[in-house]
Symmetry: C2
Subunit: 227 residues, 2 copies
DNA sequence: ACCTGAACACCGTTCAAGT
DNA sequence: ACCTGAACACCGTTCAAGT
């Protein structure tokens, strides 16, 4: 036969299955190839970016599964319900691929599919009346819960310095809320303590959010024990 | 000379420095050895557990740094202040070793030094009047924020099935609050929906904690904009 | 005891060669 | 175009050998 039926999609599918069954360490070029009944070197034809592209592809596959799960999910009139259901869908998918958080943490670049997930949450919050700053902080808190990490949206790597006008337009099209958020925060000198993705401030904000909520639950438990 | 001055401590120190400078991928037996001016095979004498022991040792070094930072930190009369300062110290140390969360996520067993950190937070919360159940949920929420993960305390691996009476006694001594929490939750049939570390319930609890807190912040912002 | 050199089975990747 | 075999520089690890 002229072709083996090998394709980028089949290779990534095999990589995900291998990671699910034997962990990320088992995902080697030779291992994935063997699962497809093929030589390791054959993979390079379908993954010009080499193993980096394989690993990025694993992230893309999981991100696509999350997006598929989000598709048949109705938007409610309560932003909390909406964000909550998005997080639950994402978590449900990630539970089936427990290697994902570790993989995400080890990758240099964040994949577009992951950015799109954050963009959706951001949109739901802003529609619900949240400011971009509040939504930004929520992203960090929720991201670390669901995916085990949160990308620094403002870091130099996120928006490459050589970003062309075309690239910016494309970003505004696929990530409208992230784009708007960046614009809003760049032009908002209201709170100089926050500044440019001040991650320490973000961290303390989320920490206090949790501590305040826990104290409120503690007081409620106290009250119900001593009526 | 009869000895090279090589020791477990010096090997781990070199491993941490290498990880800090070039990332976790650079931490190879040969790489660490080269940094010490020695052959890779020499390391095995000081790390009988091989590379696994090296990686566990990196975790231990960072955990020790956090414990050192916690030592000169006064306990306040507000549990939130106490927990907050513990989290900030831990985060401060982890920022200097950004490879730690990924490493923790990839390790099978959780190190005693990490358990001790959780035990300290647990103790502060219980002293402040929190129930063990609430403190348990807080641990998951805070753990994923600071270390990027939270161990399943009740999983079979955590308390090995062949745990001897001696081992249990040692655990009760070094991890008094975790031991008490496990005991309390095992003998508390009050809430059958939670059960044995029901991680889905834990997740939804934390999620709602965040969403409720965000909604409260949103309403506060709204009120301040329209006085 | 502490350290080493040679060797083995792996890994990612290149390159020239097959069809 | 799609796939392969041989080869290279790495990796963790073993083992027999040095001191």
């Amino acid at each position: 036969m002229v072709s083996n039926g090998l394709s980028r999609g089949r290779v990534l599918e095999a990589g995900v299955a291998l990671a699910d069954e034997q962990g990320l360490a088992a995902v080697t070029m030779r291992g994935v190839a063997a699962r497809l009944g093929v030589e390791a070197m054959s993979l390079y034809h379908h993954l010009p970016g080499k193993k980096d592209e394989l690993l990025d592809g694993l992230v893309d596959v999981v991100a696509a599964q999350i997006h598929a799960g989000l598709a048949d999910r109705p938007d409610g009139d309560d932003w909390r319900f909406d964000v909550r259901s998005r997080c639950l869908v994402a978590r449900d998918v990630v539970l089936g691929h427990p290697w994902l958080p570790g993989l995400l943490g080890s990758r240099a670049q964040i994949r577009p599919g992951i950015y799109q997930l954050y963009d959706g949450v951001l949109g739901a919050m802003v529609r619900g009346g949240c400011t971009y700053r509040l939504a930004h902080r929520a992203m960090h808190a929720l991201g670390s819960m669901v995916l085990g990490f949160t990308p620094e949206l403002f870091s130099p790597e996120a928006g490459d310095e050589d970003a062309s006008a075309d690239a910016l337009e494309a970003m505004a099209r696929t990530l409208p809320h992230i784009t708007a958020m960046v614009a809003a925060e760049l032009h908002d000198p209201a709170d100089p303590t926050l500044g440019w993705c001040d991650s320490q401030t973000e961290f303390e904000f989320t920490l206090d959010l949790l501590l305040d909520g826990l104290e409120r639950r503690r007081l409620a438990e106290d009250a119900s024990l001593r009526p």
